[in-house]
């Protein structure tokens, strides 16, 4: 029996629980100095003058950089391209934006770095930064997408003729006339608020530069070390060979630790300029201001449906407030690309306008736009159910893409590899006894308690692979080597921000080589040691990096078998690798295995380490001369079901695998205060073949926590001048153990994909949209007020309380409750 499919806890757990993790801020370097940044207090302004004299005089200050110096020593980012790529002069429809790590003359969001200080200790650096005097001239602020789209709106970016950066459109059939003919039509707006991922570890960078070697070493809390290397080398004008990026333990990423930040470039800039280790660890307030926001999108929809709930036609006009157009604003296009998610709609029109404002850029965040799409569709399903007087589950079942219709081409051209949504829903309903709940609900009502049940479904495609992208590719590399003692090292281009894929990859390799799991070491996150890879995003590490490791291990396996066959005087086909040995498949159980098969003849089995030793130490021998020396293989894996050649393939499809989840929550709502408590949550998740259920479930638990946070608590708020109002964890509140439901379970359905050799789809990102939708649905169910539609999150007490009172009949409901 192999390891795949077994419940095995993460291999780093004990080390981390003992406090022996090494996160970037823990990396010790001799004689370090510390960076602090001067950030713009205005969302939109011209910089008239920067005076550093008061900071310069402070004892302990080592260096101060102004924008002009940084501009001279580095290359700019274009919003369309990182600096190592030849800049595309047209950028996008003639709209250009070039920015250096420090703002030279213009700031476009509050929190933008304007000057940087380095000192002997962090407190002095912070004090010096405060002494830098910057004179600004305020410009008109574009504080919302609504304002940005108004005719005559001031520009969020000077020189642009409007505030639209990208317009994504997809269509199939004739939605307008189908809606006109539909028996029932509903319209409305779904709104997803602005969020941040908030990994518990703030961003951190430590860099050193050696004049002897001319090399820069960067320790970075990053998800993508190789991409990071390219960006740093490009920004500093260095050869990428001269930059080493090391990713120590990472305290969570969730998409926000992608490379290309101003702060990281500045740390590298100072390390080279001072030839001394430079450290920077983000303050939590800086995280909220400047790391990267996500998700803020509204969806205006119009849907035509049949009496039985079948969605006949759908039009969605979406607008995303992407702040400044750096970072991961492409998430808004992904939202459009996913619509209408797991539902089959014959006539569908999707429009998504990605609009710039004077807010922080977007950064990646778990779901990468898919969560907004799913949340939108789930709300539409509930609205159809309400309008048609149907059960909310029934409406979903009658609109799901049928299980036998895969691979299924969605409106955008996306080719959904596989699925069985009805199966997941059926499995969920078997876990959640709806009838029993209705009785519980009725009983609670008589005691004045309002309980509600909500169901949500999410589609979370994984393994993003965009054409011509320097970041998002669906391939990766891995090296597997066995040393003469039989120990295995796996070096991967993928990384783990704490999600556990190193454990899953070790299991895959151990199975393929038939060796004990604890003899396999996995090395990740070092550009000097690991093969080129794209790192961690889009739940790709296990399914793509694990597949690369599998391919490399397979090569080693063949060689071991070939040599083992000679040593055992057997046919390689008759051999198996397991438990650290190569044995003749028909071998009797040990201890007889060591006995000769016939007097004076070969044995039944040989330890794999002895085969390895033979390959290393006796390369010219009879058993080994027919194979190439050495036991090392590097392989690259390109995932299936990615289609980048529309001329010949008829489609552009950039997500290879399409995992999904059905989820139910039970909430209790306090009608007097609007306070919502989540009592129970159950989910059925399908990511194809499950390599390690423990890891998939644990990741999904975390996703659900983030989904519940989004549903009930989390929201970035700005004032009219685009000043961020939520800059601490006391304002942007995350769920604690108390807010999480006492009962939370995740079950699996396994619908394998053909896109990977093991049938595994991406896992880890799932869990956000389903709970968002299910909570909204459950709160409506709990209140039972006709016409109540909670289309905007988070469902903070105030919002629920107001919503209750805004709809007619609310007062009676309060009385009957």
């Amino acid at each position: 029996m192999g390891y795949i499919g077994q419940r095995i806890p993460g291999r780093n757990n004990l080390r981390l629980a003992r406090g022996a993790g090494q996160f970037t801020a823990d990396v010790q370097m001799p004689n370090p100095c510390f960076m602090a940044l001067v950030r713009s207090p205005y969302a939109h302004a011209e910089i008239e003058h920067v005076d550093v004299s008061a900071a310069q005089g402070l004892p302990g200050v080592i260096d101060i950089a102004t924008a002009a110096e940084v501009a001279q020593a580095t290359r700019p980012f274009s919003f369309a391209r990182p600096p190592e790529v030849e800049v595309n002069l047209a950028d996008m429809d003639g709209k250009r934006l070039r920015e250096y790590a420090l703002a030279e003359r213009w700031v476009g969001y509050s929190g933008r770095p304007v000057a940087a200080v380095v000192a002997e200790d962090p407190n002095t650096a912070a004090e010096a930064a405060e002494r830098v005097a910057v004179q600004y001239r305020e410009l008109p602020v574009v504080a919302s997408a609504e304002d940005a789209l108004k005719p005559g709106s001031p520009g969020a970016i000077p020189g642009w003729n409007d505030n639209l950066v990208f317009h994504t459109r997809y269509a199939k059939g004739d939605a307008a006339s189908a809606i006109a003919k539909a028996p029932g039509v509903i319209t409305g707006r779904v709104q997803v608020q602005r969020h941040v991922p908030v990994p518990l570890e703030p961003r951190a960078f430590v860099a050193d530069y050696s004049t002897r070697t001319g090399r820069l070493t960067m320790y970075a809390s990053t998800q993508m070390p190789h991409t990071d290397r390219s960006i740093l080398a490009g920004a500093l004008g260095m050869a990428s060979e001269d930059v080493q990026v090391i990713q120590p333990d990472v305290g969570g990423g969730f998409g926000c630790k992608v490379p290309g930040s101003d702060e990281e470039v500045l740390v590298a800039f100072f390390a080279r300029r001072l030839e001394r280790p430079v450290r920077w660890t983000e303050e939590r307030s800086e995280y909220f201001l400047a790391c990267g926001h996500a998700r803020e999108t509204w969806f205006d929809f119009e849907a035509g449906y049949r009496e039985d709930g079948k969605l006949l036609a759908l039009r969605i006009d979406a607008v995303a407030d992407i702040g400044l157009p750096f970072g991961a604003w492409v998430q808004s296009s992904v939202t459009a690309y996913c619509l209408p998610c797991g539902y089959a709609v014959d006539h569908c029109e999707v429009s998504m306008r990605s609009v710039v404002t004077n807010k922080c850029k977007w950064g990646g965040y778990r779901g990468f736009g898919k969560e907004a799409a799913s949340f939108c569709m789930e709300r539409i399903m509930d609205r159809i159910a309400d309008a048609a007087g149907l059960d909310r589950v029934e409406v979903r079942l009658c609109n799901f893409i049928p299980a036998d219709a895969f691979p299924y081409g969605q409106v955008s051209g996306a080719l959904l590899d596989s699925g069985n949504y009805q199966g997941a829903m059926a499995k969920l309903l078997a876990l959640v006894d709806q009838e029993a709940f209705r009785q519980e609900q009725a009983a609670a009502r008589t005691n004045g308690r309002c309980l509600g049940l909500g169901i949500g479904f999410e589609l979370t495609p994984e393994g993003c692979s965009m054409p011509n992208s320097d970041f998002l590719q669906g391939w990766d590399g891995a090296t597997v080597r066995m040393d003469p003692g039989g120990r295995v090292t796996v070096l991967t281009g993928v990384t783990s921000p704490g999600s556990g894929n190193e454990t899953g990859i070790a299991m895959i390799v151990a199975d393929e080589l038939g060796v004990p799991l604890d003899t396999v070491t996995v090395v990740q996150g070092d550009t000097d040691r690991c093969p080129y890879g794209l790192g961690n995003f889009s739940s790709r590490s296990l399914m793509i990096g694990g597949s690369a490791a599998l391919a490399a291990a397979r090569e080693l396996r063949e060689k071991l078998l070939s040599v083992g066959a000679k040593m055992l005087d057997a046919d390689p086909e008759d051999l198996e690798l397991a438990n650290g040995e190569i044995r003749v498949a028909a071998a009797p159980a040990p201890p007889a295995a060591d006995a000769p098969r016939n007097p004076g003849g070969p044995a039944w089995s040989v330890p794999i380490r002895r085969v390895a030793r033979k390959i290393y130490s006796h390369a010219f021998g009879a058993e080994t001369a027919h194979v190439e020396p050495g036991l090392e293989s590097t392989r690259y894996f390109r995932i299936g079901n990615v289609h980048h050649q529309p001329e010949t393939e008829g489609r552009l499809s950039f997500y290879p695998t399409w995992p999904f989840m059905a989820v139910a929550v039970v909430v209790e709502v306090d009608v007097e205060t609007g306070f919502v408590e989540v009592l129970r949550c159950a989910a059925v998740h399908d990511c194809g073949t499950v390599v390690n259920p423990t890891l998939v479930e644990a990741n999904t638990h975390g996703g659900i926590a983030q989904g519940l946070g989004a549903a009930l608590y989390e929201e970035l708020l700005h004032d009219d001048a685009a000043q961020l109002l939520t800059t601490t964890l006391m304002d942007y509140t995350l769920p604690t153990a108390v807010e999480m439901p006492a009962e939370l379970s995740v079950a699996h359905q396994e619908t394998p994909t053909a896109a990977t050799p093991l049938g595994a789809k991406g896992a880890g990102e799932s869990g956000v949209a389903g709970p968002m939708a299910a909570v909204a649905s459950a709160v409506e169910d709990a209140l039972g007020v006709e016409g109540l539609a909670l289309m905007t999150l988070p469902l903070k007490p105030e919002r629920v309380w107001r919503s209750i009172r805004e709809v007619a009949g609310a007062v009676q409901m309060g009385e009957t409750a």
């Binding site: 004990l14 518990l200 921000p497 638990h701 975390g702 964890l729």
Partner: protein, 158 residues
């Protein structure tokens, strides 16, 4: 301004000359190289910096190093010697660890809870850990791990 600080950390008496602005968390991390205590917010909200000061959990980002003068401190590095503490062992086995950034703080809060209440209910565990944020696990396996540790500690077999 600097001031001498004398503290006992994990049983060792130490003396440091600390900047009066220095936070206890930074004294531990930067001067004593005890980097198992993490810094996640600086506002007392996340709990990553949790240590025990004179036997009670505190957020070491909210204590000035000079205010810890004369105190006895226990950090994650000191909760166990060779064998891990039952809470650490249970967190590893129950996979109550993902990125591990919150984990040292969780361990200390859980140890404090189990000192006060050796047989807590799930709700009591959640209450006791409410000052420690985790963004990875949804707390599911952490709560299970603390229960497992409590059971084992009660049986004395850990």
């Amino acid at each position: 301004m600097r001031q001498p600080v004398r503290i006992t950390v994990n049983g060792r008496e130490l003396e440091a000359d600390a900047d009066t602005r220095k936070l206890l968390v930074n004294l531990l991390r930067d001067d004593l190289e005890l980097t198992g205590t993490h810094f996640g917010c600086g506002t007392g909200t996340c709990g990553a910096c949790t240590v025990m000061l004179n036997g009670r959990c505190v957020k070491s980002c909210c204590v000035l190093a000079v205010d810890a003068d004369g105190a006895e401190l226990l950090t994650i590095e000191g909760v166990a010697n060779d064998a891990p503490h039952p809470v650490q062992q249970a967190l590893a086995e129950c996979h109550g660890v993902q990125c591990g950034f919150c984990t040292p703080g969780m361990v200390l809060s859980a140890i404090e809870l189990l000192q006060d209440n050796p047989a807590p209910s799930d709700a009591e565990i959640r209450e006791a850990l409410a000052g420690n944020l985790c963004r990875c696990t949804g707390y599911v396996n952490i709560v299970a791990a603390v229960q497992l540790a409590a059971t084992r500690m009660a049986q004395g077999d850990a």
